[in-house]
């Protein structure tokens, strides 16, 4: 909302620099984006001049050499290219030193050999109009030559660019901003421009205009006035200047009046050429299927069935509250005008404007719901201007089709309420004065205040709490409000167990040398193909966006591996030789079982979340993982390196994982596994399939992804129970067993564990041998067993029985002991 400062000052002149007012507005709830200048940055060196002579230029057909009286001293010689320049004209002259809106500084110069001591300005150059073909010719005798142009013309207008919040419909009108200025500065406020007049419904106008409203819920009020004898012309300079400063394009006096009134009162208007409305009959109704409207911008639009149209006997003429139609537009030949000021249903306008993808100054006001009282105000102000600027004769009366006005509201502001909410006491008199200045009707009722809400604030201020806000914001809240802390209530702030374990897990990966990345939750649907994921794999069924920014961000990721591969590719392309990355983030699955707690996608609240979004870890490495030195080569990231990282991650949480053979479509089929936590699947690990890695321009890549909630659930951290290790030392035994390659190590361990019974505390692989001493398709595993009991030191005999069973089990799966 652009507020020309001088225009606003005609209603409330705060007597301070615009920047100071801007600061005050900002500190009381009206954000000022910028303070700008419409036109040249300063009016300095712009003066009124009179063209004494306009002679042709000796060396250029299109240029004239003008002699201009600009006040002091000798007349100036100014070379001018405008075709309309002529002797006798009153013009604006930019003298040397003047700065134009684009920053150009006027200097003395020679144009084709002729000296030029300034510039005669066009209206476009001064940003007072759009005419750039010729110079701006002012009314003869407007001012004496040499008069500073700023004294008689709005050459350089300061404009406050406000960002009005959607609740404050009053500040979508300049008078509302003036009232706000009054409330926060105390400067006097002029009465509103509609004050003291009223327009009664009915009258002669009903002979010329009839209005039928189909649904008063969609059109709570429709007012129309008629004017005859209208002279359509260009608006006077002051009005054009105000509109331009407000950011509106001047068109002709009638249309300009509608825009001017909207800017001043906040109520949009629309002018019809009454002679182009058959029988002056308008009907307000919802759009019918297939109906089309040609709007003022020249486009043909097909509104949806909820959209309200203003129709005449020939059909739709405009889209209610959004944009007028081309059919009954006011033009140079117009002599009779039908002036509309209506009230529309805000939500309906918002919906229609969204459906049509069409917004306008009018719709942006109507969609916030205007009060029906505003329509009559606008008619009053417009009538005055029609008479003044268009020599129009108003037809007596006003067509006014209106539902009953919303009942005006009185709210009680209790004595203690302001302090209860703000934590700052403001005395009753100050409360009363603040509300009074803001336009509320305030009376005392015992210790309380009885506050009646003006139409401008009817939809915004509905409860006591809204009054508390009003009182607070204009009472220098920022300076006066103390800074206190809530009183204690025995609360304890701490991370949940899951949260602190999550931190520990992230830290352990960081300490293992991995850099944390944060990938975008969005991804490209083609990623699933690159990863060879296909239904029924749940990761191939994406949570998709209806209105993505782009195709490559149109679905939500169902795995973290794509983000990690993308980050690896980018870094390698930029010169990194190797990367070790991890991400701690969510994946999004349309369905599936929730894990435990927020990390498993199970969040507080009555309604289940719409999709399943468990938290995963993805860890990826490519290139060397241990750096080279002069003593040894770099160690490349391979399956066992990344598995070591996984095991370390689990161990850091006091638990362990198991990896069993298991394929993933995007992994090397011979180097991939399923990660089990307490026997249940919690993720995958492996070398990325070389063909998949190649899609990301990568070579050997190893990675794993694991559901964090599953891993953390297995962690005993913080809940460990002490086991006495001093009383009964364990017994360790080793053996080496040769097994066919078809038997995985995990199978051998599991068999051994089962056979070892409850005395077997642990078993682990501590060496693997392949080579000449055993067959080509065999491996030798060296296993270490630890036996123990809680109640005694084990003897050799105690261990003999389980040991025999273990050996039998290993032999049973095709193993033979190695000496």
């Amino acid at each position: 909302m652009r507020i020309p400062y001088d225009w606003m000052s005609t209603y409330c002149d705060p007597g301070m620099e615009p920047e100071v007012l801007a600061e005050k507005l900002a500190m009381t709830g009206t954000e000022v984006e910028r303070v700008v200048v419409s036109g040249p940055p300063s009016a300095e060196n712009f003066v009124i001049g009179e063209v004494l002579a306009a002679d042709s230029h000796p060396d250029a057909d299109r240029l004239r050499v003008c002699t201009v009286d600009a006040g002091e001293g000798d007349p100036l010689s100014i070379v001018c290219g405008a075709p309309n320049v002529a002797a006798g004209q009153t013009v604006v002259v930019a003298l040397p030193g003047a700065v134009m809106p684009d920053g150009m500084k006027i200097r003395k110069a020679k144009l084709r050999g002729v000296p030029s001591e300034g510039m005669i300005c066009s209206s476009a150059e001064l940003e007072l109009g759009e005419d750039s073909d010729g110079i701006m010719v002012l009314p003869e005798g407007l001012a004496d030559p040499g008069t500073p142009a700023g004294d008689v013309l709005p050459v350089s207008q300061v404009v406050l660019e406000l960002e009005v919040t959607p609740n404050r419909t009053d500040c979508f009108g300049l008078y509302g901003v003036a009232r706000e200025t009054h409330a926060i500065t105390g400067a006097e406020l002029a009465p509103p421009p509609w004050q003291g007049e009223s327009l009664a419904a009915g009258g002669e106008v009903e002979q010329l205009v009839s209005v039928k409203v189909e649904d008063q819920d969609l059109c709570p009020r429709f007012t129309a006035r008629a004017f005859t004898g209208v002279t359509v012309a260009t608006s006077p300079l002051w009005l054009r200047a105000r509109l331009i400063a407000a950011g509106q394009r001047p068109i002709n006096n009638v249309v300009d009046i509608t825009n001017y009134v909207m800017w001043l009162t906040g109520q949009p208007m629309h002018a019809f050429d009454l002679d182009l409305v058959p029988n002056g009959a308008l009907e307000i109704r919802s759009a019918r299927p297939g109906e089309k409207v040609r709007t003022l911008d020249g486009a043909e639009r097909e509104p949806g069935p909820d959209t309200v149209l203003v129709c005449d006997e020939n059909g739709p003429t405009s889209i209610a509250g959004i944009m007028g139609g081309a059919g009954s537009e006011v033009s140079e030949t117009t002599t009779s005008v039908l002036m509309e000021a209506a009230t529309w249903n805000g939500p309906n306008i918002l919906r229609s404007s969204r459906d049509l993808n069409l917004r306008s100054e009018a719709s942006s006001r109507f969609e916030k719901q205007l009060h029906p009282a505003l329509a009559a105000r606008a008619q009053i102000v417009a009538t005055g201007l029609m008479i003044e600027l268009c020599a129009a004769k108003p037809v007596e009366g006003m067509v006014d089709v209106a539902a009953p006005m919303p009942e005006s509201r009185t709210i009680r502001l209790q004595a203690g309420s302001v302090e209860r909410i703000l934590g700052l006491a403001i005395d009753a008199q100050a409360q009363l004065e603040a509300l009074d200045k803001l336009g509320f009707g305030v009376g005392r009722d015992g210790d309380d205040l009885a506050v009646s809400v003006p139409p401008d604030r009817h939809y915004d201020v509905t409860r006591e709490i809204d009054l508390i806000e009003e009182v607070g914001r204009v009472n220098d809240l920022d300076q006066r409000l103390p800074a206190t802390l809530p009183c204690g209530s025995g609360r304890v702030g701490r991370l949940s167990r899951q949260q602190s374990l999550q931190r520990r897990a992230e830290d352990s990966l960081r300490e293992a040398g991995f850099d944390e990345i944060v990938g975008m939750s969005f991804t490209d649907p083609s990623e699933a193909q690159l990863l060879r994921l296909a239904p029924p794999d749940p990761r191939a069924i994406a949570v998709a966006l209806s209105n993505p920014l782009s195709e490559d961000q149109s679905i939500m990721r169902s795995t973290l591996i794509g983000s990690a591969l993308g980050a690896a590719r980018r870094n390698l392309a930029r010169g990194a030789e190797s990367v070790a990355l991890f991400e701690s983030g969510r994946v999004y699955l349309p369905a599936g079982e929730f894990g435990s707690g927020p990390l498993g996608g199970d969040f507080p609240g009555k309604q289940r979340p719409p999709v399943n979004e468990p938290h995963h870890f993805c860890v990826l490495a490519t290139g060397s993982i241990d750096p080279a030195s002069w003593g040894h080569d770099a160690v490349g990231a391979d399956f066992f390196k990344i598995k070591g990282v996984l095991e370390r991650l689990a161990a850091g949480l006091g638990t362990s994982v198991e990896v069993v053979a298991g394929e993933q479509p995007f992994l090397h089929p011979g180097r991939s596994g399923e990660v089990l936590v307490e026997g249940r699947s919690a993720g995958w690990i492996g070398q990325v399939h070389p063909a998949v890695a190649a899609e990301w321009d990568l070579g050997e890549v190893v990675a794993f992804e694991i559901a964090l909630a599953d891993l953390l659930e297995a962690s005993p951290l913080g809940e460990e129970k002490y086991v006495d290790f001093t009383a009964f030392p364990p017994v360790d035994r080793d053996l080496a067993v040769v097994l066919p390659d078809s038997v995985p190590a995990s199978g051998a361990l599991e068999a051994a564990r089962e056979a070892g019974g409850k005395l077997l505390r642990s078993v682990a692989v501590f060496d693997v041998y392949r080579g000449d001493q055993i067959g080509d398709d065999e491996k030798s595993l060296a296993l270490r067993f630890r036996f123990g009991a809680d109640d005694r030191t084990l003897s050799d005999e105690d261990v003999t029985a389980p040991w025999q069973k273990i050996i039998a089990a290993l032999e049973g799966m095709g193993g033979r002991l190695r000496g």
């Binding site: 709830g29 919040t165 959607p166 805000g346 939500p347 918002l350 969204r354 209860r420 703000l422 934590g423 700052l424 709490i465 806000e469 920022d478 409000l481 103390p482 800074a483 206190t484 802390l485 809530p486 009183c487 609360r491 702030g493 701490r494 991370l495 949940s496 830290d507 850099d515 990345i517 944060v518 990938g519 975008m520 939750s521 949570v543 998709a544 966006l545 209806s546 939500m556 980018r570 870094n571 930029r574 990194a576 990355l581 349309p590 927020p598 990390l599 996608g601 969040f603 507080p604 609240g605 009555k606 979340p609 719409p610 999709v611 979004e613 241990d626 080279a628 030195s629 003593g631 040894h632």
Partner: protein, 365 residues
């Protein structure tokens, strides 16, 4: 006989001592040990012969022999220790390395993402102020993101945030803006979820990802926010100010001040935006020789986020859970994590955080 033996014992002591002290290496001393104290040594012979002496002489000879034996052993040990220390030094001096060669590298520690670090900092500060940390869904129902936060249907406030909507599974695509499921546009939906789940008093923050249809140097379609909510009896706007001030001083330094500007949010009333005094120019807007501060653009204040008192209409959605606006009041606030990280670390472009270039990540150990 006895006297002669005694004399011989002292002669042995003298001779052996001379030889031991002259010994030049450990091996030679071991030979001397055999010669003077071994099974076949003269001293051992004398001790063995004691039985053949007169009983009255036995004690004297035996005592002397044992005494000399002990003395010789001590002398020997001392000399061996002396020599072996010297020998070790000699052998070490020939076993030298080039200490100027580079060390064998171990894998360097990695780096937490600056967003994670900043999030944890905020969490830790708020935990210290007595808040719990909660998480909520990013794909959310319209109800929690808008309706229960006092954004009625077709309310212009919904247009303030350009929302991503999620395709309903299965059937035909629904009309944009009319769908129930969306990507949360702020962390505020957790306000209602948290209140549904537990009665007051409630003090919690919600860090997490949020989404808006916007992309440029200061906007990413995905970004991170922290929500804060405090509901109890007697909570005031002044408490909000004090809480934010305490938090901002922990994050930006003890000299910071806070500024609250009235604003509008549908789910708080009164609503404010809050700024922190610029830590680069100390809130003056100027650097050194009168140059305009580029961080706060000469204003002295840096915009951080929005806040306010929980609107009674929001409590209306959780009245059953114990939130009666006549008995409890509350405040809520929200701000961007990236914004804090950008300010603290001087990162100019928001999008760098999601580019994951290790040259950026490695600056944040």
């Amino acid at each position: 006989m006895g006297q002669k033996a005694t004399e011989r014992i002292f002669e042995i002591e003298a001779e052996a001592t001379v030889e031991v002290e002259a010994g030049e290496n450990v091996a030679g001393l071991e030979e001397l040990r055999v010669k003077w104290l071994g099974r076949k040594s003269e001293l051992t012979g004398i001790l063995r012969g004691i039985a053949g002496l007169e009983p009255a002489e036995r004690g004297l000879v035996g005592g002397s022999a044992n005494k000399v034996r002990e003395k010789l052993e001590a002398t020997l040990e001392a000399r061996i220790a002396e020599l072996s220390a010297a020998e070790l030094e000699t052998s070490l001096s020939t076993d030298s390395i080039d200490v100027t060669l580079p060390g064998s590298p171990v894998r360097a520690v990695g780096h937490l993402h600056p967003i994670t670090r900043t999030r944890r900092l905020i969490e830790d500060v708020m935990i210290g102020l007595g808040y719990q940390v909660m998480e909520g869904p990013e794909v959310e129902h319209d109800f929690y993101n808008f309706t229960a936060l006092n954004h009625p249907d077709d309310h212009p406030a919904r247009m303030l945030q350009d929302t991503f909507y999620v395709e309903p599974g299965g059937g035909a695509p629904a009309e944009v803006g009319k769908q129930d499921v969306l990507l949360r546009t702020h962390t505020s939906p957790m306000q209602v979820r948290a209140m549904e789940a537990a009665p007051p008093p409630l003090f919690m923050i919600v860090p997490g990802k949020t989404y808006r249809r916007d992309s440029d140097a200061t906007h990413s379609p995905m970004f991170h926010q922290v929500e804060g909510l405090a509901v109890a009896e007697g909570i005031t706007l002044a408490d909000l100010k004090g809480t934010l001030l305490a938090m901002l001083r922990e994050i930006f330094g003890p000299d910071r001040e806070i500024r609250m500007r009235p604003h509008f949010f549908p789910f708080t009333e009164p609503s404010v935006e809050f700024d922190v005094s610029c830590f680069k120019c100390g809130g003056t807007g100027q650097l050194g020789k009168g140059d305009r501060c580029n961080l706060c653009k000469g204003i002295g204040w840096i915009e951080l986020g929005g806040a306010g008192m929980v609107d009674p209409n929001v409590f209306g959605f959780v009245r059953d859970a114990g939130y009666d606006p006549d008995s409890v009041t509350g405040f809520a606030f929200g701000f961007g994590i990236e914004r804090i990280a950008m300010l603290r670390h001087g990162v100019g472009d928001l999008r760098l955080f999601f580019d994951n270039d290790v040259r950026l990540l490695e600056q944040f150990s």
